[in-house]
Structure formats: C-alpha cells, structure tokens
C-alpha cells in the first residue's frame, strides 16, 4: 500500500517533469543542440510563478507569465550563440549561471513557500470536491499532468509539422542544406531554443506549484533528469520513429525514471543520493543499446564463421 502510494506520486512527478524532458528533447534530439540553459530556465519558471502567486496573480496566469519568462531564457542563449558566436554549450552555461542571480532577484530571497496560497492543483482539488469527487493530491496532479502533457504534445506535433517546424527539424539534420534552401539557420535555432525553454519553464512552474514552494536551487541537475527521461524512453521504445510516438516515449521515460527513484528511496537510500543514481541511470541507458548491438554483431560474426567452416 505504502509503495502503491509512492507509485502514484511518482507518476504525478513523472508527468509534470516530462514537460521539461520534452523541451530538452527538442534541443538535444531534434535540433541537435546541447542546451545547458535547462537548470536555469526550469527554476525561473518556478520562481516567477511563486512571485506571481504570492502577489495575488491567479495561478493560471502565473503559468503563462512563467512560460514567457522561459522563452526569454532561451532567447538569451540563442543570442549568445548566434550573435556573439559563443559555442552552444558555453552559451547555455552562461545563461544558466546568470539565471541563478536573476532568479534570486525575481524572488528577493532563496525560497518562497506557496502552501498558504491557491495553486491550480488546490483549485482543481477544491473544484472536484465541490462536485463530490474527493481525490488525493497526487491524483489531482496526475490529472493536471495529463492535461498539460497532452496540450504540449499536440501543440508541438502541430508546430513541427508546419513549414517553420519542418525547417527547424532539418536544421538539426543538415545546416548546410537549410541555408542552401534559403533559410537563416540562426533564426531556426533561435525559435527552437525559445520553444524548448518555454516548455521547461512551464514544467518548473507546475512542479513549483505541486511542491508548494520554489527554491533557487531546485533546478540543479534538471538537465540530467531530462536526459534520463529521453534515453529511458528511447531504450524502452526503441522501434518508434514517428515524432508523436517519440514524444510519448519521452513522457513514458520520465514516469519510469520517477518510479525507479521511488523504488530506490524505498530501498532506504536518501534523496541526497539521487543525483548519483540519476547519473548512473543515464550512463546505463546510454551504454545498454551500444552493448546490445555489439553483442548482436558478435553473434552475427560467430554465425558467419560457423557457416563458413561448415561449407
């Protein structure tokens, strides 16, 4: 029973964090751009939401404001990379570091509690209770997570099917070709970074409201969690190729990651060990497919050798 409850919490967290993973998927996989902005823009999302809510702005509006704040974070990385010609990894790290100070400025302190305020989670919970449907906080979070994940996937699916979206996907494949087809690759990268970091800040906003607090340190390691979700999804759903299914795979990866974490915590490890465990999961998930294909290649060679000696 204890564990089932933990799984519910894990699914809720997995869904909310999967929006961050989807944002990372856009830059890391579609655009082929190693965007290190993530840790900063995620925190920005949570901080902006916390400040908005603490100042009486409706939670739904706070979500939107956070999303716009995240788009600025992406724009800064894009500017540093495109206009100042700073290498992509460093451009992201610079934005991430500066966001630490900016987030502190936004909140005016390192931590903002939200327990005494309304969030969309509390609002929905009360709304449902009003019509006689008493749900646990985790189940409400699962509902909200499902709604937002669906919206994000549908919007991204639509956008990356449009002319602009298609040329962004092509940029991740072959920049020289995109320029030869008359498109400024600086613009395509800029747009992708903005969209990705908007998603990531949206995730930060949701996670902050769910946890009932925003903290300037809450984004540390978020990028690795996003990567963990992506690679777990890819390992488990290895055969999917369509863009929509790949996004669903990322979401499933995010949920599985959270279930693994819940399991590990049940086994008695502390939350302080999580970063190490996450790194190990990513390393394993990246190593396993290679190991499997090497193993298969070896099998194929052995088979060929046997057939040769038989002949």
């Amino acid at each position: 029973m204890q564990f089932l409850l933990a799984v519910e919490g894990a699914v809720a967290q997995g869904l909310l964090w999967s929006i961050l993973a989807l944002g990372s998927y856009l830059t890391f996989r579609l655009l082929n751009f190693t965007d290190m902005t993530v840790d900063g823009s995620f925190t920005t999302g949570a901080c902006v939401t916390a400040v908005c809510i603490a100042n009486g702005i409706p939670p739904a509006l706070a979500l939107l404001v956070s999303l716009v704040a995240g788009s600025f974070a992406g724009a800064i990385t894009g500017f540093l990379h495109n206009k100042l010609e700073i290498p992509e990894v460093l451009a992201g790290i610079l934005t991430q570091i500066s966001l630490y100070s900016i987030n502190l400025r936004i909140m005016g302190r390192a931590n903002q509690q939200l327990l005494q305020y309304d969030t969309i989670f509390k609002q929905l919970k009360n709304l449902l209770a009003g019509i006689g449907l008493e749900l646990s906080s985790d189940r409400v979070a699962i509902l909200i997570g499902l709604v937002f994940v669906t919206i994000v996937i549908v919007v991204l699916y639509w956008f990356f099917g449009t002319e602009i979206g298609s040329i962004i996907r092509a940029t991740g494949n072959n920049e020289a070709m995109v320029r030869a087809l008359g498109q400024n690759t600086q613009n395509t990268k800029f747009i992708a970074l903005i969209i990705a970091n908007s998603c990531i800040a949206l995730a930060g906003s949701l996670v902050g409201m769910y946890q009932g607090a925003a903290d300037v340190g809450m984004g540390a390691g978020a990028i690795v969690i996003g990567l963990a979700s992506i690679v777990i999804g890819e390992v488990i759903l290895r055969r999917v190729i369509a863009f929509g299914s790949k996004m669903v795979a990322v979401v499933i990866g995010s949920i599985i990651y959270r279930i693994i974490v819940a399991l590990v915590l049940q086994l008695g490890l502390s939350t302080n060990d999580l970063k190490l465990i996450t790194a190990i999961i990513v390393a394993l998930a990246l190593f396993l497919p290679n190991a499997v294909s090497k193993h298969n290649a070896k099998k194929a060679r052995e088979l060929a050798a046997r057939e040769n000696s038989d002949a």
Binding site: T162, G165, A170, N173, N174, R179, G182, N184
Partner: protein, 263 residues
C-alpha cells in the same frame, strides 16, 4: 545572366597557411548556358561555386546576377536563385526526414516559411510524378527516411530538390563523383534531362573529361584560381580527351599534366 568580375578569395590571410584560391577571376554566363568545369585538384572550382552562392564571402570583385550585385548578400538570401547539388550525397538532404518532407522543404526554397502545414496533399502527387520520370522506383518511397536510400538515389533526389523550384542557375559540384560508374551515368542523364526540360542555366564541375565534352554547350578549364580555357559550340563538340590534356599542359602554370586532372 550571371557576370563575375575580378573575383578574389584568399583563405587564412596573414597566416602561414595563406592561400590565394581565386585570383581576379572573370566569367560571363548567358541564359541557357550549360557549362562544364574541369581543372586539377585545388584549382578553385568548388571555391568558385561556393563564392557564387555565398557559402563564404569573396574578398574582392563582383558577382552580378540578372543585373543585381549579390556578392555581399548572405547565403540564405541568395538561395532563392540557386539550385545546388554537392559531391557528398549526404550533404544535400536531411537524413532523418522523409523523402516527401525533403522535397517539400526544397519546394519552398527562398520562400518565407510560415505556419501553414509543411507538406500539402497535392504536393505528394507532384513529387510522385516527378520521381516517376526518373525511372528509379523512388515514387514508391515518398514516406521513407532519406537515410535509407543509396548514395545514387540520394543524389537523384537532391537533383530534383535543386530544380523543383526553377533556379536561375544550377550549380553541380562533382555530383556524380561518389557514385559507381553505372549510377553516375544514370544521374548524369537525369541531369541532362532536367536541364533541357526546364531550359536551365547550369555549371557542372567534373573530373570526367569525356563527360565534360559530352554534356553541355560550353566548357571551361580552371587552374590556380583562374579560367585558362573557355570553349563553346561546335568547337567544343569536336574536342577529344587527348586535346584537353594537351591544352592543360600548354596552358596551366607549371604545366605538368597531372593525374589530378583525371580525378
């Protein structure tokens, strides 16, 4: 149609690697010209093509396309007028995208891209028809990822991409060099077919002397960043490979006929 005046390009100026690759080059291309370009390795053929479409800026000189100076325009702005096929079959296409998607990207070359759908249903029909004329069976593979196609098939697709929206000038840089002789022949014939059907103006770099003689209406030979020989019409048709080799020996600086001439 296209006029190049005193074009100059030096790579890595001011360093030990300084190399003057294009040296006050002049060339006038008339509408409808199909020019084959030959010359030894490092003669500056690819650099000339890259300067025309703006992959990197020229150091000096003018490039005038249909009356407009374009030498200072960024590559992506010039792209609406140029169709390009590269030597490397991987360079012209997006491997992870479908064949139809690649064509749709090219169909919108130089056009402002908006939020309308990236590929329309009626386009597929057009692509299917155009691919069918190639006789390579590609019309049945519209939904396949380009990465699954062979090098020759990819070059054929790139050729269609370069000409789907009629370019003012088609630039082909050894686009059959990476293919086996049979496939190279097929792609070369396709090239002829497309150029004559659409009445295109084209520059085709090749190391295959016979192909340079057999195709097009004009031939130029490059050496050390300049054009050392320019021939057209019946005089070109009469040329033999031996003539070209002899001419190269006579005209090139240093004058040793190289294997590089033959690729």
């Amino acid at each position: 149609m296209l006029k190049i005046e005193n074009l100059t390009k030096t790579f890595d100026p001011g360093t030990v690697n300084e190399k003057k690759v294009i040296n006050r080059l002049n060339l006038q291309i008339s509408a409808g010209d199909f020019i084959t370009v030959i010359g030894g390795n490092g003669a500056g053929k690819s650099t000339m093509l890259n300067l025309i479409c703006g992959v990197y800026p020229a150091d000096g000189g003018k490039i005038i396309l249909a009356g407009n100076e374009i030498q200072d325009m960024p590559e992506y702005k010039r792209a609406k007028d140029f169709g390009r096929v590269f030597q490397d079959p991987l360079m012209g296409t997006a491997a992870n995208m479908q064949l139809a998607e690649n064509l749709a990207l090219a169909f919108r070359r130089g056009k402002r891209r908006g939020l309308s759908w990236g590929i329309l249903e009626e386009e597929r029909e057009l692509y299917r028809k155009r691919l069918a004329t190639f006789g390579l069976g590609l019309e049945d593979r519209l939904n396949d990822k380009i990465g699954l196609l062979s090098g020759g098939q990819r070059q054929a697709v790139t050729l269609l991409m370069a000409t789907l929206k009629t370019p003012k000038l088609l630039l082909l840089d050894e686009h059959t060099a990476a293919l086996d002789p049979n496939t190279a022949e097929i792609v070369l014939n396709l090239t002829d077919q497309i150029i004559s059907e659409q009445n295109l103006t084209a520059l085709m770099v090749t190391h295959n002397m016979q192909a340079a003689i057999d195709h097009g209406n004009r031939l130029i030979m490059m050496d050390k960043g300049n054009i050392i020989y320019d021939v057209r019409g019946p005089e070109k048709q009469k040329l033999k490979v031996e003539d070209l080799l002899r001419l190269f020996q006579e005209l090139s600086v240093g004058g040793s006929v190289s294997d590089s001439m033959l690729g």
